[in-house]
């Protein structure tokens, strides 16, 4: 018996001695880089790589991929030799030949329209354009800032039927049949492109990191020690000096937040943010922000906008009906509502 014990001990003790060292030497280091050239926002890539050179290759891949998506989904600028969404908006009634990545996004957006009962509608370009114009003017000339007149908004809202978007997958074309309608993919494009870019990074070998495109966060894999990525939900302006209100632990999952605290302008001291309700045609103040967790970045982006425009009960039943989707709503009085499985991700 004692001899056996002795053998066991002499066998295992060296391993016991090694335990403290496990997980210490992975040879990979954490890098992080930030750039500004796509989707009018800041993109951060952080993650593990074998060397700085290797990480820089991933950064370059992320940068060029996002820039491609940005150009295709842009509704404000023309680019040489590509048909983008501005080309589609500028040629109503014509079937415009577009890149398959545009067809993919538009088909996905129609799916999201159906899923959210029209609460994310990429055919709301006519209404959003008015708000964009008044917001831009209001930011440049705060003293004369104004709201778009309701007559103009309701007139524009007559041209927001998603059915006027005709996608011909076989021919590779898109046609907007109403000359007064316009596409605006602001509610889905960033999240969708972030998800696609993360896939491309993963295929290139980047298997442990976080891609954040202007608040659309995609967690790729887990940290090398097998733990979770800790990401914060920003404080949307409730009474607290902390930048982050909640900390979540996630792996292979996306977090997207839609909030009233980011893009807005002031008219007579009142804040008008950029998320416009498809029915009231106004920015709603039911929530300060809505965050969505999902394995699908595009879905998380589309849902965060839709939930922002829905009441909490309807939003919660939509979220609970979807597999693997969780959400949290931050109210102006500081209360936070959660979907049924959200607390499983909260840290601390």
């Amino acid at each position: 018996m004692i001899g056996f014990l002795r053998k066991c001990l002499s066998f295992f003790l060296p391993f016991v001695l090694m335990i403290p060292f496990f997980g210490c030497e992975t040879g990979r280091r954490l890098y992080s880089e930030t750039f500004f050239d796509s989707f009018d926002t800041v993109t951060t890539l952080r993650g593990y790589a074998d060397s700085y050179e290797q990480f820089e290759e991933y950064v370059e891949l992320a940068r060029t991929t996002l820039l491609d998506y940005h150009r295709l989904y842009d509704i404000y600028e023309d680019y040489d030799n590509i048909n983008n969404l501005k080309t589609v908006n500028d040629h109503p009634g014509q079937a415009v030949t577009v890149d398959s990545r545009i067809l993919d996004l538009l088909e996905f957006s129609v799916e999201m329209y159906n899923l959210t009962d029209g609460m994310t509608n990429i055919a709301m370009g006519s209404v959003l354009e008015l708000w964009h114009e008044y917001r831009t003017d209001g930011l440049e000339h705060p003293e004369s800032a104004a709201m778009p007149p309701m007559e103009l908004l309701t007139a524009a809202a007559k041209h927001t039927d998603i059915a006027c978007l005709q996608i011909d997958r076989a021919a590779g074309t898109v046609c907007l049949c109403d000359p007064d309608a316009g596409l605006d993919v602001g509610a889905v494009a960033k999240g969708y492109a972030a998800g696609k870019t993360a896939e491309i990074l993963r295929e290139a070998g980047f298997d442990s990191g976080i891609l954040n495109v202007g608040g659309n966060t995609v967690a790729i894999g887990s940290p090398p020690d097998g733990s979770v990525w800790r990401i914060g939900i920003q404080n949307p302006g409730i009474e607290s000096e902390d930048a982050y209100l909640l900390r979540l632990g996630i792996t292979d999952r996306c977090l997207v937040t839609s909030g009233s605290y980011e893009r807005y302008y002031l008219v007579d001291g009142i804040r008008y943010h950029h998320i416009i309700h498809p029915d009231t045609l106004m920015p709603e103040d039911t929530f300060l922000s809505v965050s969505v967790l999902s394995a699908d970045s595009g879905l998380a982006d589309a849902l965060s906008t839709a939930l922002f425009n829905m009441d909490a009960d309807a939003g919660r039943s939509l979220v609970d009906s979807l597999d693997g989707v969780e959400a949290c709503w931050i109210l102006p009085d500081g209360r936070i509502l959660y979907s049924s499985g959200f607390d499983g991700y909260i840290q601390d």
């Binding site: 003790l13 403290p20 954490l30 500004f36 605290y261």
Partner: protein
């Protein structure tokens, strides 16, 4: 069991404990070293340890500025000349990966851990 065996086992366990404590303390110490990395337009301009209180004004070429403060282990922007003030209203950051962003000035402050 012989006396030598007990001594050997005891000795090895003591050694394991010492190494474990040493590594844990070393790791713990490493984790405590947080700093705020300040980047302007993607270029790093400063690293401010969160353990040292200080004021760091970021001055841009055209007279624009963001005043970065490190205090009590947290970093924040106390004032700025940007039109939206989002960086100031963002508040205080203190955990690895947290960021404070001033989009108009292309300023990004991220909390990082020493060694990355």
């Amino acid at each position: 069991m012989k006396k030598q065996d007990l001594m050997l086992i005891g000795g090895l366990l003591a050694a394991a404990l010492l190494i474990f404590l040493g590594v844990t303390l070393f790791k713990g110490h490493g984790e405590a070293l947080l700093y705020a990395k300040i980047q302007v337009d993607g270029q790093e301009v400063a690293r401010l340890p969160l353990s040292e209180d200080r004021e760091y004004p970021v001055r841009l070429e055209d007279g624009e500025y963001n005043i970065v403060i490190v205090s009590d282990g947290k970093v924040f922007v106390s004032s700025a000349s940007c039109p939206d003030g989002v960086c100031v209203r963002t508040g205080k950051a203190d955990s690895v990966g947290d960021s404070i962003i001033c989009l108009p000035h292309r300023l990004v402050i991220t909390v990082e851990e020493e060694g990355s």
